[in-house]
């Protein structure tokens, strides 16, 4: 118990230390978070009428972001499988970063759902026994269960491993292995259940297609790892953490496969809708061509298509995949492409035309954008804090001091660019003892 407390206080000291760049970044995020907070207070006072959601389009930008981020969270499994099932060393060293990304993404998911509901203070109605969770009838109830399970699993695994490394102990395999194995189906489950959430609604032909779950999974295995690779490059550039090129290339190769399946499934969906040409074609037409003069999403979805297809070839061709510049471009294209396709591109056409075929065009208001920006900043803040602790631990720059009570901080700066790497290690202030 005492050890946990020492570990905890040590991390607090650690996150308060850093280079100028680190402080600026954190201050920037905190500013965005405050702006988001103010936007949320405004929304709580006025109601969701400050959004441009209405009865016709009853879910909008918040739920689009939620859906996309579930995918990002699920993608951690792409690191866990090679690392812990195949014991592939280059990825094993970085798998914990994937778990921390999953934690941050789920935090964002939960925040996006919270800001979307009309009565967030009634959240306790969702707690089994205390409230009345409609399980197993409601897929939203399932989502509450699997998202929280996945969050708990990833947080437990990552914190447990880091905690043991901090105390220079070998993590107990008989504890971590079952949890890690469980986290694999759990990652699949959050995405499957989120897809089922839409999939099960007979009222919405755009979602009521059995191909939706595999499409969700395929696109998740593009966007999540793409984001992961970008993080790897940033971490490698701005911290002392080493990441093997082989690990990055393996992940990039997996994205190529996933993007192929994603495009194939999308093509299958489009073929079925256009060739059949039933009234159920309307939402697809709205998305890709515009319907009765309404075409707000058309430029977006075509941007996404071009990005995804370009990225697919960049990932596919070994030369561009192994070139760091083109790889970064491909990752950004995939991330943006899937963000559009799996976010607004998936949620909004479910409501346009609505069930009585009315067309209400939706575009997020300023409040929705600011609030969403605040949530993204919160997620990045959580991720930054987690990395601030995890990376020095993995580098051996943050561990228990020789007396077994205090802590040793070797990395005072955290954010450094490579050329002043030397000075940072020279400038380390050494042992920072603390006894209590």
């Amino acid at each position: 118990m005492k050890n946990i407390w020492h570990f905890f206080t040590g991390t607090l000291v650690l996150i308060s230390k850093g280079s100028k760049g680190y402080y600026c970044w954190v201050a920037f995020l905190l500013t965005l978070m405050s702006i988001g907070g103010i936007a949320y207070i405004n929304q709580l006072n006025e109601g969701l009428i400050v959004t441009s959601m209405r009865d016709q389009v009853s879910w909008g930008f918040y739920i689009s972001n939620f859906t996309f981020l579930v995918g990002v969270a699920a993608a951690a499994v792409l690191l866990v499988i090679p690392a812990y099932v195949y014991h592939w060393k280059p990825i094993k060293e970085i798998a914990v970063l994937g778990e921390l990304l999953a934690v941050s993404a789920i935090v964002m998911c939960l925040l996006f759902v919270t800001v979307d509901i009309g009565h967030p203070e009634r959240f306790w109605h969702l707690i089994p026994k205390i409230g009345l969770l409609n399980f197993p009838q409601s897929l939203l109830a399932w989502d509450v269960v699997v998202l929280n399970t996945y969050l708990t699993l990833n947080l437990t695994i990552a914190v447990y491993i880091l905690y043991n490394l901090y105390y220079k102990k070998e993590p107990n395999k008989s504890f971590t292995t079952p949890l890690l194995l469980l986290s694999i189906p759990s990652a699949i489950s959050i995405h499957t259940v989120t897809a089922f959430l839409y999939n099960g609604l007979g009222a919405r032909p755009f979602w009521n297609s059995s191909i939706l779950v595999p499409r969700f999974l395929a696109s998740a295995f593009c966007s999540g790892p793409a984001f992961m690779i970008l993080i790897f490059f940033l971490v490698r550039k701005y911290t002392k953490f080493k990441i093997d090129d082989k690990a990055i290339q393996k992940v990039a190769e997996l994205i190529a496969y996933a993007m192929f399946i994603n495009l194939l499934l999308l093509g299958a969906e489009l073929f079925k809708e256009y060739y059949t040409g039933s009234v159920h074609l309307a939402p697809v037409q709205y998305l890709f061509q515009g319907l009765h003069g309404h075409s707000a999403l058309v430029p977006w979805i075509w941007t996404a298509m071009i990005f995804n297809i370009t990225a697919f070839f960049l990932f596919l061709v070994p030369d561009t995949r192994n070139n760091n510049v083109t790889l970064v471009i491909a990752c950004i294209l995939v991330f943006v492409g899937v963000y559009i396709e799996k976010g607004m591109g998936l949620v909004i056409p479910g409501f346009i035309p609505d069930v009585l075929h009315e067309i209400y065009e939706y575009a997020p208001t300023g409040i929705e954008l600011l609030l969403s920006m605040g949530i993204w900043a919160t997620g990045l803040f959580v991720f930054t804090m987690l990395l601030r602790v995890a990376i020095p631990i993995l580098n051996g720059d943050f561990h228990v001091a020789d007396d077994g009570v205090g802590y040793y901080i070797g990395d005072q700066l955290f954010f450094v660019s490579h050329h002043d790497d030397e000075s940072s290690s020279v400038g380390e202030s050494g042992v920072d003892d603390k006894t209590s």
Binding site: E46, G47, L48, I49, T51, M53, R54, D55, Q56, S58, W59, V113, D116, I117, G118, H119, P120, E121, R122, F123, H125, L126, G131, L132, L133, N134, Q137, S138, L139, L140, A141, V144, L197, Y198, G200, L201, G202, A203, R204, V279, A282, G350, F351, P353, D354, V355, L356, H357, E358
Partner: protein, 308 residues
């Protein structure tokens, strides 16, 4: 465990409870005006699901709500909780060959059921259809506004909650805040709904409406005869819907729903599906009936028919 220790434990327990109580009261006092008001806010916050309330708890809730609404609107408001009648299953019939699209039902419903006037919430949507196209939603006009109805070459189709036997909306609610009563009416507990709007995504008829902002309901327009599961004033951030005028139809003697009563051409019919002598049963058995979106198998108890 020694007696001494037990005693000690009890004391600690007691003081902790006192502390928590103090804390809650403290927070309440800081955050809210007046001791009484804060008590009712906490009561409302911790209120159980409608169907889990005991008789005593329910009557307390009703008293609290009546007091709250009466204060809010400056007139005496009645909140009923009349249960379903035995041997009754409500059904609704709508004669498409008669409806003239005047929308009197839309506004009678708003007045009866205390919907928000600003922003406007309508539980009934009337669509203007082209006679040549038949019931074809993709050619329906929702916002028709001529000087005179009916317009030549058109017919009209009002849509409200279809009170399905297999409602898609109740199934998806994550907190069971909406359910089908024994008389077939699908209701919402406005004090339990978390406002996630999953039911709105699930409903194939656009019958569910959300209070996006604070409902604008002037005191002079308030209908003071209300039902807990029906037309009592709603807070912002919850979903609401047609309840077949539960505050009227569940009474003994009952009254027709407001939309049925106002219809100038007698296009609307309402009755007990379990009563073989009822008008609604006669219509179903003798007229050409069609069920809206029958393929979804939601099994509506709202029957469109052509009498002529």
């Amino acid at each position: 465990m020694s007696d001494n220790k037990k005693c000690d434990n009890q004391v600690r327990h007691h003081s902790r409870r006192k502390f928590l109580k103090g804390l809650t009261a403290g927070i309440g006092l800081i955050a809210l005006p007046g001791r009484e008001a804060s008590a009712s806010v906490w009561e409302e916050f911790f209120q159980k699901h409608f169907r889990e309330l005991s008789k005593e708890e329910l009557s307390k809730v009703i008293v609290r709500l009546e007091k709250k609404y009466s204060q809010q609107f400056g007139k005496q408001v009645k909140v009923k909780s009349t249960p379903p009648l035995e041997g009754v299953l409500f059904g609704y019939g709508l004669d498409l060959s008669r409806c003239i699209g005047c929308r009197r039902c839309v506004y009678a419903c708003v007045e009866e059921n205390n919907q928000s006037r600003d922003p406007q919430i309508h539980w009934i949507r009337v669509m203007q259809m082209n006679k040549e196209k038949g019931v074809d939603l993709s050619h329906a006009e929702h916002y028709y506004n001529p000087d005179k109805v009916p317009e030549k070459g058109h017919f009209y189709m009002p849509v409200a909650c279809q009170q399905c036997e297999k409602p898609a909306c109740t199934k998806v609610c994550p907190v069971q805040a909406t359910w089908k009563e024994n008389d077939g009416i699908v209701v919402v507990d406005y004090n339990w709904c978390i406002g996630c709007r999953y039911c709105m995504a699930a409903c194939p008829y656009g019958a569910r409406h959300f209070n996006w902002g604070k409902p604008g309901l002037p005191a002079k327009d308030l209908n003071t005869n209300t039902h807990y599961l029906g037309n009592r004033p709603r807070p912002k951030g919850v979903v609401e819907k047609c309840t077949f005028c539960i505050q009227r139809t569940r009474e003994m003697p009952g009254r027709y729903p407001a939309c049925e009563e106002i219809c100038p051409v007698g296009a609307r019919k309402f009755g007990n599906l379990l009563d073989p002598e009822s008008e609604i049963r006669y219509l179903i058995e003798n007229k050409r009936v069609f069920i809206f979106k029958e393929d979804l198998n939601t099994q509506p108890k709202f029957y469109y028919f052509y009498a002529t």
